[in-house]
Every structure is written in structure tokens, then in C-alpha cells.
Symmetry: C2
Subunit: 304 residues, 2 copies
């Protein structure tokens, strides 16, 4: 099985819990890839960084079996940087600074050996970049997962539509679902999206869990109630990474497999948010993941 | 088994879905009682109305096996009236008018034959009224359930504390949980409440479901995703009513029974919000409840 992940590798600076981090390792490809690694994946990464990206961070990624041959290093540019502040209830955040830097010049080149992936994960990026990757593939992937956000819905709706047409599973949040479909009923909005290409839609609700819909089925996964949320950054990407890591492992893409994948994704996301940046998931043991999965099963299991 | 419900019987006027109702039947005791009836309860009601309360509404309540001997009719007073407007996304509402009327004179008298209930449900009311009912009981109930709201947390904290001390299961929403415990971490806030009397806490999250906590266990029930929410009024009370109706039926109050009760409560609440006022739950068939329970099981069931 081969798993291709397109996304950002970035510096983040996080204000949360009365603490301000330095410039730490972040980015969607980073979280997605690390989460998938914990389920046995060796993710092939398409991304871009600047000349300032330190070797120690490359080492962290390599230690999680990242194949980095598709990561471009742009000279005379800096790495994409995001600085954000979480408010006291942790559900809201303010962006303090966004410096696109090398990301603004991202013109993905897919290495030959990556051109026939089984699974493609298109992290939240300019839809033109997402399409640029799909266009370079030699074979149609078995399963394409797409993440996006309100910015692209507003600013590049037509290109995004093209991406979504080629997507098997779209992962977005509740507000984006309503916005994309221009419908205030979440379920009607979700049904509309299922007529636009994707067989499956996962609607993320942050600390309120996630709902997956197909044409005829629905399944809901709560978020694990966490006592001390330290830093929510990367929760959504960890969720997606755990999910695709599971799909990659079982090599099945039916509704039941997606349900189980969501449990893995949610469990890993719950570990991510208990530490700053990647510190917790990068060091996560198999044992702690198993324990977390058990907590999850107890949270949702009922004999009826 | 005897079930005692203390709560309001009211007139509601609802603005939702581009429609304004007339003065329709509402109130917490109404919704709780009707929901419990569908699980076989014959609820004993403590409430108050004015002289303007029409016979046709008494008939609706009697048709749902309400014992109304504890409902006081205050002459020269009107029935409690609430008028509210739901905003387009249905998760927010504005109160347009609150006329306490007879409710401001509510001094509950518990009829003799109601004084040894197995289950007591204290609907959202002035804690002094809730205490007034508990003080009149001859025996300690097997299970006491309390609902309350931010207004009482702010304005009568000491009386509320007394009520909560005598409560087995407290049902409040997420904001109220944090407010009562003065803690922004929902789980820490919940744990605090479990040191104040209740063995169980249910944290309602509206369209995002509900979490039950005991000292050592947690279980989460999503809300059923509804395509057309017509009127959310009474959803929380229908949930509580379905839950206590189930507990009343099985005569058990352990964690597993509460979990199942939450499924019944959520299923009934999902039927309530698909119509204005009580029109949908008052006419609910056993068949439609069964179908709804099945939808629910499909929404949360996973083989792991």
C-alpha cells in the first residue's frame, strides 16, 4: 500500500494555557503523517519548506518513516509560519500572524515513484495545488481524501469544486459544510455535498466530535472528553491521519472501515491536544494508543 | 412505581421557521410527562396554572395519563407565558417575552398520595420550589433528578446547592456546568459537581448530544442528526422525560440503565423538534419511536 500526503510542513508559534511556545514544528502534512505512522504507514510526502527549516525537524519526520523526496526546499525563502492564540475555553482561536513564505511558491512536483498511490490525502491547501498533484498521478487512486477550509470555499470556489469532484471522502467542519452548500440545515448541506462527487463526508465538530455520512448511512463519533487540553493545534489533521493510517492498514474503504478509522483518528487527536505541537503524538507509545482506544470504546459502547 | 414530576405547565408562543404559533401548550412538566408516558409512566404532576388555562389542554395532559391532582389553579391569575424566537441556525434563541403570572405565586402542595414517590424529577424552577417539594415527601425517593439553569446558579446559589446535595442525577448544559463549578474545563467542572451530591451528571450539549459522567465512567450520546428542525422548544425536557420514563419502567438506576435511558430520551427529543410544541410527541406512535431508536442504534453502533 502506498499513501501520498500533500500538505504543509510549517513553523507554528502557539499561545495557549498561559504559555507561548517558540517556533515549533507544525503543518498539516506533519500531523497527518505522524498520526498515520502510528498505524503502520510509511507516508510519501509532497510539501515545501524554506532554507531555514532545521535538520532536527527533518529528523523527527524521518523517524516517523516519512519519505521526504517530494519535499521541496526553496532557497532564499523561509518556511511557512503560523502564530495563533487560543482563548480560555480553547474552542476559539485568533490568528496572530500568517507568513506564507515558501508556501506561496508551492508548485508541487510529484516524484515518479509516488505517482501511483493507493491512497491520496490532500491536506488543506490552495485547490490549485491539490489539483496540481492529482494531475500528475499515473493511475486513479483507490481512495482520495480532501480537507479544505472557508478561505478556499470563498476565494477559489470553482477550483475547489473540481477537487471535490475527484474526492472520495471530504473532511470539513460544520460551518464549512453549511457554507459550501449554502444551506443552514447541516444534514441537507451534507446531502448536497454527497451529490457533488464524494461518496463519504465527514463533518468535524471540534470538541463535539465528528459525523460521517454516506448516501444511506450516518455514524457519529464523539471527541474524547479531555480534562486538560493543552494545545488544540493539529487535532483535525491528527484525526485525518489516524483515519487514513487505518484505511491504509486494512486496505478497505467501506463504511464500516471508515467508522473504525474515525475511532483511531479521534483517539490519536485526543493525545495530540494534551501536549504542545507534536510533542505528544511524536512520542506516543502503542500502549498509550491502545489505552486511549479502550477509553473510546467505553465512551460509546452500549448493549441494546 | 411512582413518578413525581415538578415543573411548569405553560403557554408558549414560538417564532421559528418563518412561522409564528399562537399560544400553544408548553412547559417543562408537560414535555417531561408526555415523554415519560410513551415509556409507560403515569406521571404525578406538581404544577400551577392560571384561570385562563383551557380545558382542551387539560384533556391533552389527561390523555397522556397525567395525574393532575397536584396542579393548582390560581384564580385571578394567568398561566405562565413564554414567547421566544429561534434564529436561522436554530441553535440560538431570543426570549421575546416572559410573563411569570401564576408561576410567581407557586407554592407547591404535594397531595398525600404523591408523598412517597420512587422517582422525583425536579424540572427547571426556583430552587426554593424544588426544595419545597422535597421537604413535603414522607420517604426518601430512590432516585431524584434535577434540572436547573444559569438564572438560578447566579441568583439563588445557596438554595440551589441544597437541592443539588439531595440530587442523584443533575441534568444541565455545558455552559451551566462550567459556570456552577467556576471552571473552564468541562470535565474538571463535571468532576467537581460529582463531589457536591449527585452520583451522576448529564451534560447536555444541544444539537451536539449529551455526556453522562459518574465518578469512574463516561458515556456519550449524540443528538440524532435531523434534517428539518421545526421547533427546538422542549427538546431538553423531552430528553429528561424519556430518560426517567425508561428508569421508571426498568426500576433500575445504575449506569447502564441511565445509558439506555439517554438513548430513549434522545430519540424522543428528536421527534419533539420535528414539530411545533407538543404536536409531534403527543401523537407519537410506538412504531415511530421504535424506528427512531433503530436510527439511533445505527448512528452509534460499532463492532470493535
Amino acid at each position: 500500500m502506498s499513501l501520498l500526503i500533500v500538505g504543509t510542513i510549517a513553523f507554528d508559534k502557539i499561545h495557549a494555557n498561559n504559555h507561548i511556545t517558540g517556533k515549533i514544528l507544525g503543518g498539516s502534512a506533519t500531523y497527518i503523517g505522524i498520526a498515520s505512522y502510528h498505524l503502520g504507514a510509511t507516508p510519501n510526502i509532497i510539501s515545501v519548506v524554506g532554507a531555514d527549516f532545521p535538520n532536527k525537524y527533518f529528523e523527527i519526520l524521518k523517524n516517523h518513516n516519512f519519505n521526504l523526496s517530494g519535499v521541496e526546499i526553496i532557497k532564499n525563502e523561509k518556511t511557512f509560519f503560523w502564530e495563533g492564540k487560543y482563548l480560555s475555553d480553547m474552542n476559539q482561536r485568533e490568528t496572530l500572524k500568517t507568513e506564507l513564505n515558501s508556501l506561496s511558491k508551492f508548485n508541487p512536483k510529484v516524484p515518479k515513484q509516488f505517482c501511483s498511490p493507493k491512497i491520496v490525502m490532500l491536506g488543506n491547501l490552495d485547490p490549485r495545488v491539490q489539483l496540481g498533484v492529482l494531475d500528475q498521478l499515473n493511475t486513479k487512486p483507490s481512495f482520495t481524501i480532501t480537507d479544505t477550509m472557508n478561505f478556499w470555499i470563498e476565494n477559489t470556489p470553482n477550483k475547489l469544486k473540481e477537487v471535490i469532484k475527484k474526492t472520495d471522502l471530504l473532511i470539513i467542519n460544520d460551518e464549512e459544510t453549511k457554507q459550501y452548500s449554502n444551506n443552514n440545515s447541516l444534514i441537507q448541506a451534507g446531502k448536497y455535498i454527497l451529490t457533488q462527487g464524494p461518496k463519504y463526508l465527514i463533518i468535524k465538530k471540534g470538541e463535539n466530535g465528528a459525523l460521517i455520512m454516506s448516501k444511506n448511512k450516518k455514524f457519529f463519533v464523539p471527541a474524547l472528553p479531555i480534562e486538560n487540553v493543552v494545545d488544540p493545534t493539529g487535532a483535525g489533521d491528527s484525526f485525518a491521519g489516524g483515519l487514513i493510517g487505518y484505511l491504509n492498514k486494512v486496505n478497505k474503504f467501506d463504511f464500516e472501515s471508515l467508522k473504525k478509522g474515525m475511532i483511531y483518528g479521534s483517539a490519536i487527536a485526543s493525545i495530540t491536544v494534551e501536549g504542545f505541537g507534536v510533542e505528544n503524538i511524536s512520542n506516543m507509545s502503542n500502549e498509550s494508543l491502545k489505552t486511549r482506544i479502550n477509553d473510546f470504546i467505553n465512551l460509546i459502547k452500549i448493549d441494546f
